[in-house]
Amino acid sequence: MAMTIDVRVVSAEGSIYAGVADMVVAPGEMGELGILPRHAPLLTGLRPGELRIIRGAETEYLFVNGGILEIQPDMVTVLADSAERATDIDEAKALAAKQAAEARMAGHTDQMEYAAAQAELLEQIARLKTVQRLREQGLLR
């Protein structure tokens, strides 16, 4: 019996992905979550990272920058703060932003700014990691 889950990825700026999948792997706050059909209802936060939507032999890679994940037995909803397809990531830009964030962290002791820079840094690191993984799997360039 083939079982699938409905997957919806939306951000405030638009719908990113809608479809069915065999399995979804999401970067949960407490660690990576693998979601199969008939998962128990679950609600958790997301940290910046890679979201994998697996359907048969194909895998869709998305990058989500934090958000909320809702799981219903037949449905996964990702309310992303922002999201993009992994193949759309601009590596050079991410690298530059990462360095800028590092510089800001080094230069500032103000707590608010430090925290903001840290968050930015984590986001860019996660973004770069996603790109690297894609490359390792020969899915990119």
């Binding site: 405030a12 700026e13 638009g14 128990a40 209802p41 609600l43 936060g45 909320i68 909803t77 309310l79």
Partner: protein, 288 residues
């Protein structure tokens, strides 16, 4: 009757004005299309988050979120969304009229109001009228990001959580269609609980929360409030552009009519002058 030269000057100036209003109309038309697209793009998120909240109401969460608690109203907060620029017909006027009306109503009931304002136009008006402003935001531009709006949202949500205000209204315009925008007053906080049907309620279940219910729900509620406000601002932007387009279109039409009228007056004045000249010449010739 004014002389021909004066009228010619008037025609010229009206024609120039018409060129400007025509240009603004076309700019507004193209911006409106983009604003509408953005408005539609933001809709899935708003729908989904409401859905999740609906599921949450069916479930039996262990605790009631502070932003959902209904309290007796002693002080009210407003989040007012207006445009940064004018020349968009009655859009801002309608919004501000609603604000004034509601504030007055509350005032008569002994409830004072705090206001947070988005947009220059509302800011100017409300400041002139001595409203109590707690947060303001302007210069959002044509493609606002959620991050830009956190300030006023935070100000209101925090005030609510701290009990400084007991209700928060969101006043903005709803986009009905290009010709029609409706100013609305909605209750933003406390968030009204989506009601679950009795049958849904009968199934006892709750989410697994990771790491815990509280932080997850905090985050969800925060996102929800933000998404509602974001949606309102985006929608208001689409309203602004279409209202401006309509206003500029009627201004252009009026200018056209005015030019026609002036042209007629000019022709009459010109003819009258010629007739008079001929009469003078022939009178002069007869006198010789």
């Amino acid at each position: 009757m004014a002389n021909a030269k004066e009228i010619r000057g008037q025609i010229k100036s009206v024609k120039n004005t018409r060129k400007i209003t025509r240009a603004m109309e076309m700019v507004a038309a193209s911006k409106m299309r983009r604003a509408q697209e953005r408005m539609r793009a933001a809709r899935p998120y708003a729908e989904k988050i409401r859905e999740v909240l609906g599921h949450l109401a069916q479930a039996h969460p262990e605790y009631e979120h502070p932003l959902m608690q209904v309290r007796p109203i002693k002080k009210a907060g407003f989040l007012v969304v207006t445009t940064d620029r004018g020349l968009c017909g009655g859009l801002n006027v309608n919004v501000l009229r609603n604000v004034v009306q509601k504030v007055r109503e509350l005032h008569e009931g002994g409830v004072e109001s705090n206001l947070a304002v988005v947009g220059n136009k509302g800011l100017g008006f409300l400041r002139r009228h001595g409203a109590h402003l707690v947060a303001e935001l302007n210069g959002l531009g044509d493609r606002p990001h959620l991050g830009d709006m956190i300030g006023p949202i935070r100000a209101m949500a925090d005030a609510y959580a701290k009990g400084e205000v007991d209700v928060v209204y969101l006043v903005s315009s709803r986009f009905v269609n290009t010709m029609l925008q409706r100013a609305t007053v909605e209750q933003l906080l406390p968030v009204e609980k989506p009601t679950a049907s009795a049958e849904q309620r009968a199934e006892l279940w709750d989410y697994i929360y990771e790491p815990e219910a509280r932080p997850v729900l905090d985050r969800l509620m925060q996102r929800y409030v933000e998404s509602v406000v974001y949606q309102a601002v985006i929608e208001h932007l689409a309203c602004e552009q279409s209202a401006r387009m309509v206003a500029m279109k009627s201004a252009s039409d009026n200018a056209k009519r005015m030019v026609d009228d002036l042209q007629l007056a000019y022709n009459k004045a010109r003819q009258a002058a010629i007739t008079q000249e001929i009469a003078e010449i022939s009178a002069g010739a007869a006198a010789v």
